[in-house]
């Protein structure tokens, strides 16, 4: 067993650099230094033909020396290049990053990207597609493809609408890059320049990217609260105590998670028009009756018109993450708190005022008999009046025509 082999077996995957050092120290005949490689690959004009295309084989030494792999020898990745002669086989088998990054390699292999790769999807991304080849920098380096400000561009190369990938794959979500750019997270990134805002990998993870339908996916319904909790800790704390939390409400029915109200890529600023105008619809997905009857009242009607974002929405009265049933003393609509809740918009509101029915409907005789009977009394009045005068008018038309004709013939 050669010295090199012994070292290899001991070193383990994370200690590749030792290999080089070992080779240099023992003065092995096979030991190739980076200088040896750069003797050819340092020439900017070096090219080769691959799959009918001319590709550059130039490696910029200065750039490489700044990368995370600066201390590595070329042959630690390009293993086949370690041959005695001037020429190594061409083309070589692709670089296998998992020979060092074993754990990540295993995660990637199970991800949507890795599975697609294994199935032979030509557009499936390999390590180099996101991380680049000889320019791999730390994610904290602003020049890195994995730096937060650059991630949407890195992912967007494939996930932008109109790309070769989106054109050939069946996807559940569309226009995700545009929607993200307009979202509160995207604005945080593009407008406010925040590197702490959520980027693609914050929610989807970097290597364990899975479709939302996969139970282990970070963006699966059952895991999304945990994913959002990575940043929105205080909100999730409140939410866990609310009526919508599975810890509080034991039910077979589907309980809402973050994305049910906030949406995903297009997530908006909650105080802004776009979000306020969809609240009744979002709540209505489960609370259909309450949403519909809300829309029959002044608050609901006005919210459908321009400027309607200003009127009271579900969350203005019921709260949002802290939402509780009315009988709970902490509920914003509990008798103990409701005057205060209404007073936000109606100063000097009193308890009698709060008996206004914010989800009233005249179609419910059981619960709102006075509304039901008022409506039908008024409808009777309308039908009666219009029936009489409608008949009066219809009968008048032919007579009036005759009178007009008479007047015309008389006039001449």
């Amino acid at each position: 067993m050669s010295h090199k082999d012994t070292l290899l077996s001991r070193a383990g995957t994370s200690l590749c650099t030792l290999l080089i050092t070992g080779m240099v120290m023992t003065g092995s005949a096979f030991a190739l230094t980076n200088d040896d490689c750069l003797g050819c690959h340092g020439d900017t004009s070096m090219t080769a033909e691959k799959d009918g295309k001319t590709i550059s084989l130039y490696v910029d030494e200065a750039t490489f020396k700044e990368t995370v792999h600066a201390e590595n020898g070329c042959v630690s990745c390009h293993v086949e290049a370690e041959v005695a002669g001037d020429e190594h086989p061409f083309p070589m088998t692709p670089v296998d990053c998992s020979s060092c990054h074993e754990e990540i390699g295993a995660i990637y292999a199970k991800s949507a990207h890795g599975v697609a790769m294994a199935k032979g999807d030509a557009l499936a991304p390999q390590c180099k597609d996101c991380h680049s080849k000889h320019d791999i920098l730390k994610p904290t380096d602003p020049r890195a493809t994995t730096y937060p400000l650059n991630i949407p561009y890195t992912c967007g190369r494939c996930h932008q609408e109109g790309s070769a990938m989106t054109a050939t794959h069946e996807l559940n979500k569309h226009n995700i890059t545009q929607n993200y750019s307009m979202s509160v997270h995207g604005k945080g990134l593009f407008e406010s320049g925040l590197i702490v805002t959520a980027v693609c990998s914050s929610c989807h993870t970097a290597h364990d990217v899975q479709k939302a339908s996969v139970p282990t996916s970070s963006v699966n319904r059952d895991n999304i609260i945990h994913t959002c909790n990575k940043c929105h800790v205080g909100i999730v704390d409140k939410f866990k105590k609310s009526v919508h939390s599975p810890l509080v409400t034991k039910t077979d029915k589907k309980l809402p998670v973050c994305i049910d109200c906030h949406t995903d890529h297009s997530i908006g600023q909650v105080h802004e028009k776009d979000f306020r105008l969809i609240i009744a619809k979002q709540c209505g997905n489960c609370h259909e009756h309450h949403s519909e009857t809300y829309l029959e009242t002044y608050h609901g009607r006005a919210s459908m018109l321009k400027g309607g974002e200003r009127t009271a929405k579900c969350s203005d009265c019921h709260g949002s993450h802290n939402i509780m049933p009315a009988q709970d003393p902490t509920s914003t609509i509990n008798t103990a708190n409701i005057v205060k809740t209404c007073s936000v918009c109606h100063p000097q509101a009193n308890l009698s005022f709060t008996t206004y029915l914010t989800h009233a409907t005249h179609n419910d005789k059981e619960n709102y008999p006075y509304l039901f009977y008022t409506f039908w009394a008024m409808t009777g009045l309308l039908v009666g009046t219009f029936s009489f005068f409608g008949l009066h008018t219809i009968l008048w038309v032919p007579r009036s025509l005759i009178e007009r004709l008479k007047a015309m013939t008389k006039g001449h």
Binding site: T297, A302, G307, Y356, F386, F389, L395
Partner: protein, 282 residues
Amino acid sequence: MSKTPTMYVERFSVFQRFIHLLIILSFLTLAITGMALKFAMEGWAAMIADWSGGFAVLGALHRFCAVITFFYFFLTMILLYTSWKDSGKSLFGFIFDPEGLVPNLTDLKEMIGTFKWFFGGKRPYYGRWIYWEKFDFMAVFWGIAVIGSSGLALWFPVQFSKYFPGYWLNIATIIHSDEALLAAGFIFTIHFYNTHLRPEKFPLDPVIFVGSISIDELKHERPREYDQLVASGELDKMSTRRAPTAWLARMATVFGIFVVTTGSILVVSIIITMFKYIQGGH
């Protein structure tokens, strides 16, 4: 046409015409702004809100016109008071004047006569105010009382609920909204037809804007009033050769047709929407 020059008599004073102008402007605005809220889920309502600048603008216009409504109601009271004083009658005698605005037995007889006339009978011997005109006038009182009081409750809900239960506001909403539907629907169909759109008058009877009508027309339209004026000798005193000035007549036509058209468009939108609901089964 007779060879003698056309003579005119005044039917509406400047003050009366001014009140009607206030009614037109405020009523049309109230109807448009209110119906946009009532039918907010319809495209045409969204269009009204977009054009005006939003529901807050609609609300402000609606309340402003409500104030005008209370103002013209007050002016009408002054008008009635001065008419009473000028008539030299007792209050009871003024209110129940057979030729006054309060409906009476003659109106019932005329109404039956009118239906007979529709089927070929003789045209009734109409006086100064015909029953459908009296209905319009009384409806304004009924309408203002009902829509005005419920509207005030909705305008000042917190103050209202100090004296009444808060859920009465829900009842007030139904009453206000449906009574308004009745009022707008009635004015924009029945009143428009009775007064302007029926073939005898089409497209417009300008008398409410210009004030005077020809004696020929008075004699034909309201024979009882004409005969009364002749009998009392007042016709000679009242009649004048002065026709309404050309610019006034033109203004009346342009404005009147604009208003009738606007109201008609609104009522057609409402009718289409109502049919959609009835078909959809609420």
